[in-house]
Structure formats: structure tokens, C-alpha cells
């Protein structure tokens, strides 16, 4: 059995760990509220944007349609945009996203496609570089970004559009985490380019009731303005949901770490008291038997 001093040291160290995890949990809870508000505030824009895109894309047919909308007509090269957090200590959050990304890569490679990866967030890069380093074409780290806003999304959107215009890929998918609730985050993969497929996945085509839109200037010019913005919007909402999910996962992870530390302290205290008593009893016995011998 460990000595009393050793036990006392263990207890102290677990206690300070508990304090740290408790503090991290509270920080995560505060940040979660902010991130959740941001994610929810961004939702109307994304929804309206998707609805408008659905309207427009049903009006656009034929070979003149922009390539961002209808794709290149091939699906040989896939770009996976893997968005994770930049920091760990949030349970299975990053691992789950990376696992889904690996599954997608395996599925696509199995189907004979070429896969390229763009990682957003340090943890995703770290998780994927071991197996798929040759496929990673670019990485974006978020650690310099104080708060995620339109400009962050535009920066990533620009990278994707530049790659697309250079003919580097045909289909783009975003792998990120869906913020279901504070305690539940689900990794998901959604199509980004061609935008038409993405819209078909998410939005129901609105019933226009035979109404004919008039456009100013015209459909093509509007789409030209709209499509890049649509890409940015999808990325922004993915990033915001990720941020909220990360905080939610971190809060849950730190909560259970705090609880585990508490349990461990209880157990150690019990052991400490038991060995202290054993020691006292032993000393008493020694004294008594010493006295009897006299």
C-alpha cells in the first residue's frame, strides 16, 4: 500500500486537475452560449439563401448555366473540405468528423474517384495527415481567427472557387459537424458544388404556382453574384455550427472529467483514511504490547 504522503500528493494533484476541468467546463459553457447564438442568428440568412437558390436554379437549365451551379459534367475528382476545431479536449468531436472524412475518402477511392482534401482547423489536419497526407491540397488554421464571421468564410470560399476554376476538382463536399443539441453533435457530409445537387438535398423546390419571376438585370448576372455568396454562406454556417458543437462537446467532456476526478478523489480519500487508521491501530498495538511485556 502506498505511503500516506504519496496518497496525499495524489489527492492534491487530482484536486487541482478537477479545478482545471471545472474551469474549462464553465468557460466552454459561456462560449457555447455565444457560439450557439451566432449559429442561430446566421440560420435565417442561410435558409433564405437556399430558398432563393432553389428558385433560381429551377429557372436555369441548359448548357449556359454556370458551372458552379450544375458542375463540370463529370464527377471524377472530389474535393473534401474537412472542417474541425483547432483545439482538442472536446471528447470525440474532432475524432468523429475525421472518421466520417476517412470513410468518405475510402468510399470515393473505392468507387475509382480521385480525392483531394482541404482541411479547416488544425485537428482535422493532424488526424488525416497520417493516412492521407498526399491527398491534402491545402489547410486553413483557425487559431488566428478571433471570431468566425463572413470574412473567414469568404477566405475559405475563395480558395475553393480558385481550385474549382482551375479545374482541380468536379465535386465538392463539406464534412463538418451538425449542431443537433448541446449534448449531441452529428458529423455530416454535404455537397457544396455542384450547387444544384446541394440544393436538391436540402431544400424542397418551392411551388411557384405558375408565377413567373422577372429578373433584374437577368438570371445569369444574378447567379453570378449569388453563387459565390452561396458557397460562402454554406461554409459560414458549417463553421458556426462547428464552433457551437465544439463548445458543446468540450462542455460535456469537461463535465464528465470533473465528475471522474470527484469520484477518484473520494476513492483516494477513503484509501487515505483507511491506511491512516491502520497506521494508528498498528502504533497502538505496539504501545499496548510493549506495556504488557513490562
Amino acid at each position: 500500500m502506498a505511503s500516506l504522503k504519496e496518497l496525499k500528493n495524489r489527492i492534491n494533484s487530482v484536486e487541482s486537475t478537477k479545478k482545471i476541468t471545472k474551469a474549462m467546463q464553465m468557460v466552454a459553457a459561456a462560449k457555447l452560449r455565444k457560439a450557439q447564438e451566432a449559429a442561430e442568428a446566421a440560420r435565417p440568412y442561410a435558409e433564405r439563401m437556399a430558398a432563393v437558390m432553389a428558385n433560381l436554379s429551377s429557372a436555369m437549365e441548359g448548357p449556359d448555366a454556370p458551372r458552379l451551379l450544375v458542375g463540370t459534367g463529370k464527377d471524377d475528382v472530389h474535393l473534401l473540405v474537412v472542417a474541425t476545431a483547432d483545439r482538442g479536449l472536446c471528447g470525440g468531436f474532432n475524432t468523429n468528423i475525421a472518421r466520417l472524412a476517412r470513410e468518405r475518402v475510402a468510399a470515393l477511392v473505392g468507387a475509382g474517384k480521385t480525392v483531394k482534401i482541404l482541411t479547416v482547423g488544425k485537428k482535422g489536419y493532424e488526424a488525416l495527415k497520417r493516412l492521407h497526407k498526399d491527398k491534402i491540397v491545402d489547410t486553413v488554421e483557425l487559431k488566428d481567427v478571433k471570431s468566425i464571421d463572413g470574412s473567414t468564410a469568404a477566405m475559405i470560399g475563395d480558395k475553393i472557387r480558385t481550385l474549382f476554376e482551375a479545374g482541380e476538382f468536379d465535386v465538392c463536399e463539406v464534412v463538418s459537424s451538425e449542431f443537433v443539441s448541446v449534448i449531441s453533435q452529428k458529423p455530416r457530409a454535404q455537397t457544396l458544388i455542384p450547387a444544384r445537387d446541394a440544393i436538391d438535398e436540402t431544400v424542397e423546390r418551392p411551388d411557384l404556382k405558375g408565377a413567373i419571376y422577372s429578373y433584374e438585370p437577368d438570371e445569369e448576372s444574378i447567379l453570378e453574384v449569388l453563387l459565390p455568396r452561396y458557397v460562402d454562406t454554406v461554409i459560414l454556417s458549417a463553421l458556426l455550427e462547428n464552433a457551437a458543437g465544439e463548445m458543446g462537446a468540450k462542455m460535456a467532456a469537461m463535465d464528465s472529467a470533473t465528475r471522474n476526478a470527484g469520484e477518484l478523489i473520494d476513492k483516494l480519500n477513503l484509501e487515505y483514511n483507511r491506511s491512516r487508521q491502520a497506521k494508528i491501530t498498528k502504533e497502538l498495538i505496539e504501545i499496548i504490547s510493549g506495556a504488557e511485556a513490562v
Binding site: P44, Y45, N55, L56, G150, A211, S214, T233
Partner: protein, 133 residues
Amino acid sequence: MADKLHFDLVSPERRVFAGEVDMVVVPGSEGDFGVLANHAPFMSTIRTGAISVHSGNDVSRTFIRGGFAEVTAAGLTILAEEAIDLADVNAEDVSKSLAEAREDLGQARDDEERHEAEARIEKFQALLSELSH
């Protein structure tokens, strides 16, 4: 009073306005247009400028930059990259920001910084001209 128009103004960060109004005047890229209730379906890009929201005798003006307007049977939706209530800003602050942006332009080291400063100058100039109305 005739029917009310449902009007949504959303920016990527938040929903700026949602409610029933009488009329909204929008600076379309090919000219200003007013939207009343029961407008025909219509879609337009927007140039940087101010929208006027008419509700009863009140007119509130909001500066918007980048985006587009969509009119459906359900109402008018404006998706703007940026929306600033003109009642929240004063000309002095904007002039100051404009001067700062000009200074940044002078000190810009590469094209990226230059473009960024130019975009800011453009925005503040437009904002200033709307404020003087």
C-alpha cells in the same frame, strides 16, 4: 390601409428586421424600385445604398451593402452582406473611418491590402452620401 407587405432583412450574422410594413424602396442595381404588398414575383441585385422602409407615417432608412432582393407571394426578402441602421451612425464617425481607410490605402503594401482599403473607402463614401440626404 391596404394590405401589409411582409419584409425580411437578413445579413449573414443575424436577422436585422422582420415584420409587416407598407412599402420598401430598394436601390436595385438597375435603379431604385418600391415594393408594395402583392407585388409580382421579382428578383434583383442591389447596389450599395440605403433602403427606406415605410410603415404608416414612419420612414426608417437602413444602409445595405452587397446582396439582392427577392419578392415572392410571401413578401420581400433582402439578403444583404452588411446592414447598418442609419439612425445608429453619425457623419462624424464615418468621416473619421473614411480618413483612416484612406490612410491605410496610402500605406498598403500589397494588392490585397489595397483592395481591402479601397472597398472600405467606397463603403464609407456611400454611407456618407446616404447620411447627407
